[in-house]
Symmetry: C2
Subunit: 425 residues, 2 copies
């Protein structure tokens, strides 16, 4: 089984190293010799564990090479990765990828292409790094109707929020994350929730049989969060996380969204700290199950990539045909965000004058939003007071309308935060 | 695909119900119609979702029936379950079982029999109820050398210890567990660690390729534990759990043991409370990963049983042959308990006389056991004092010898507890 490797960054290096150093173990598990045959790199001059003629700067060569039986794509990003995956599949080569972006936007088409060519497209590494997720969600929960999935699938944001819970500002925490190697120099995709939304699309397809692209789902990152919000949440027993959430609605539909959310402190996800990832799933038979571990890092991601490689190689060695995709029934439609009901946290800066609280509660009542708890502090030096409200569940449309009205009240200086609250389960 | 069901207790009822109520979903996932054809029950007079001629009190009939294509064994216990599984396999019928006892003692032989007949023997439900474990451990971690596995796999003990951490005695907590349905009327197999040892044998084979039977591994249950021990542990930042532990030794060997152990309070397993189960695995590539959820209960276990049924049915529907077992290399030998090194907690009742502490520490020093921390309280009314010691890691042989000597010191009234401490990882 001759392997072509596209992309030799941190993960690619870990994969190459493992393919060379633990070739015996991997080949034994696969029932076939695994050989790293070719690799596409950016810079030919750097030292690599491959000979010069095995290396190229042209990934197209590797994706199409006649002496490559399986392609591992680890370049990341949409293009040229998508095109290279498609090119390899077109030539009947199975592909193993960690590319959540390509899968989120083009997964169904590429899977169709793979099926039409009778080869596998596998992507255990695309979500949750080294945490086994795909077989558990598709095979092991096959008898279940998945009711709900909530996940911490961006280690950067979770690291930042863990530090902010200790009082650090977003900027300080993000700087620390960058120093520690948990955030990239350009962290926008992480802190804006783009990365989490890509991964959620992959999970939603697997767990709910709902097709969605990142453009269709509600996405909000952690920008603008203040350590004060985390502190207020803690007072009432909540922890703030960036969650990727999918839930079966009352009908056929599925809601899918990425945003910061307060979780009850005793929820298993509330205890997932630092750069850890975790996926919490509720099935109607199995009840709640959780998978957690390292969501990123070269070796952890390589572990998932190589599991897929062994799987493909083993199937080929045994001569088993690739099974057709499972029939999971009709696609579930996505529920529009405006109809999604959540509890909510508001933090307002208001003038310290009589009647403010009556105005605020009147706005909520108008939109049929019930009030669960309130924190009001004595006013600060500038005559302004801070009011914190936790509401009961209401549709997003009502919450958004209430926010707009609250911000226009004469005594409101600003709506400083609106953060969703995930009720306990 | 005609299914024969052996045993219609809580899990069997949940399986039967699901096979009838969600037949469409399961059949679609399997790519073949799934039909509950026959069931062996104890009492024919109870109402069942099967017609009278489908029921029998003779499980042998079901295991051998010509109109049964797959046997689900949910009777539990060693015999006649083992014999029935073997009989079904002999006749070329795949078997799905939740029977940890049979797997722990006879797993390798039955797997060999299944392989020789070209059929599958599957047992996702045998460990950790509805938590996906087998595919994750065998397939998804295939590229890893598993370094360590620590698991909470007995819900009864975990429920009892969670209550004891709040100050209840073992007896009170066990009574509550029985009331709540988390402990059986005869809880011996649970509280003596027999159930956990059975499950550990299954896990050790999967994760370490080490063959062991429950008789070979060190096993100690939760009898004799005192809420005082849990309170002392908490003072120093530890939580007491009944753990099933397996770890790769420095050489080829693997240690495997079941016993109560103090875990650092920030270890993910320390936060697994009540009747929950969790398996924490450290792979040399993936790092630590944890799987948690409901370890028992009819529906959760049925979820795992049915995942296996769908898997087998799908393979048969596609006409795929059963792949040969993976070659995981040579068997790893079991390390004798006497050589296993652990940290340790001692609680002694001693006379409140000068020089006691010097005697105690001298015994430890003689056996080259380092002292990590000490708690000594002012003496009680009867002139006795309680001394609590946390040691550094030492071989079991040294710890046992030290315990014997400590109990013989003139000023020692009793060694009230010796509990292993699992260092953080």
């Amino acid at each position: 089984m001759r392997i072509g490797l596209l992309g030799v960054g941190t993960v690619g290096q870990a994969v190459a190293r493992a393919l060379i150093e633990r070739r015996d173990v991997l080949s034994r598990a696969a029932g076939a010799g695994l050989v790293l045959q070719r690799a596409a790199v950016r810079d030919l001059s750097r030292p690599r564990p491959l000979s010069r003629e095995q290396l190229t700067t042209d990934p197209v060569q590797v994706a199409r090479a006649d002496d490559v039986d399986l392609v591992i794509e680890l370049m990341g990003g949409e293009e040229p990765a998508r095109g290279l995956i498609a090119a390899a599949l077109e030539r009947g080569k199975p592909v193993v990828t960690a590319n959540k972006r390509v899968l989120a936007w083009h997964g169904p088409q590429l899977e169709q292409l793979a099926a039409s060519k009778g080869v596998e497209l596998r992507y255990e590494a695309a979500v949750g790094g080294g945490i086994p997720l795909i077989a558990p969600l598709t095979d092991d929960l096959a008898a279940n109707r998945v009711l709900e999935l909530r996940a911490i699938i961006n280690g950067t944001c979770n690291y930042v929020l863990t530090r902010m819970a200790q009082g650090e500002t977003l900027e300080t925490a993000l700087g620390k994350a960058q120093e520690a190697g948990y955030a990239e120099a350009d962290p926008r995709d992480d802190i804006d929730g783009v990365d989490a939304a890509d991964k959620l699309c992959v999970l939603v397809r697997l767990a709910f049989n709902a097709t969605c692209t990142p453009g269709q789902l509600h996405r909000q990152g952690i920008r603008g969060l203040d350590p004060r919000d985390l502190a207020y949440g803690r007072e009432l027993g909540y922890v703030l996380k960036l969650l990727a959430i999918a839930r079966r609605g009352p009908g056929l539909g599925v809601e899918a969204r990425v945003h910061p959310a307060f979780l009850p402190a005793d929820h298993p996800l509330a205890r997932v700290d630092g750069a850890q990832n975790a996926v919490h799933v509720v099935g109607d038979l199995c009840g709640p199950v959780m998978f957690s571990g390292l969501g990123a890092g070269g070796d952890a991601t390589a572990s998932a990539v190589l599991a897929d490689v062994v799987h493909v190689a083993r199937r080929l060695a045994l001569g088993d045909p690739v099974p057709p995709p499972r029939d999971s029934g009709p696609d579930a439609p996505l529920i529009p965000m405006s109809e999604v009901k959540t509890r909510c946290y508001f933090r307002l800066s208001v003038d310290d004058v009589p009647g403010v609280f009556a105005q605020v509660t009147k706005v909520l009542a108008t939109h049929e939003i019930g009030l669960a708890s309130v924190i009001q502090r004595e006013p600060g030096k500038l005559g302004s007071a801070e009011v914190v409200l936790f509401t009961y569940a209401a549709p997003e449309s009502a919450l958004a309308a209430a926010e707009a009205e609250l911000s226009k009240l004469p005594s409101t200086r600003a709506v400083l935060a609106r953060i969703r609250v995930e009720a306990s389960k």
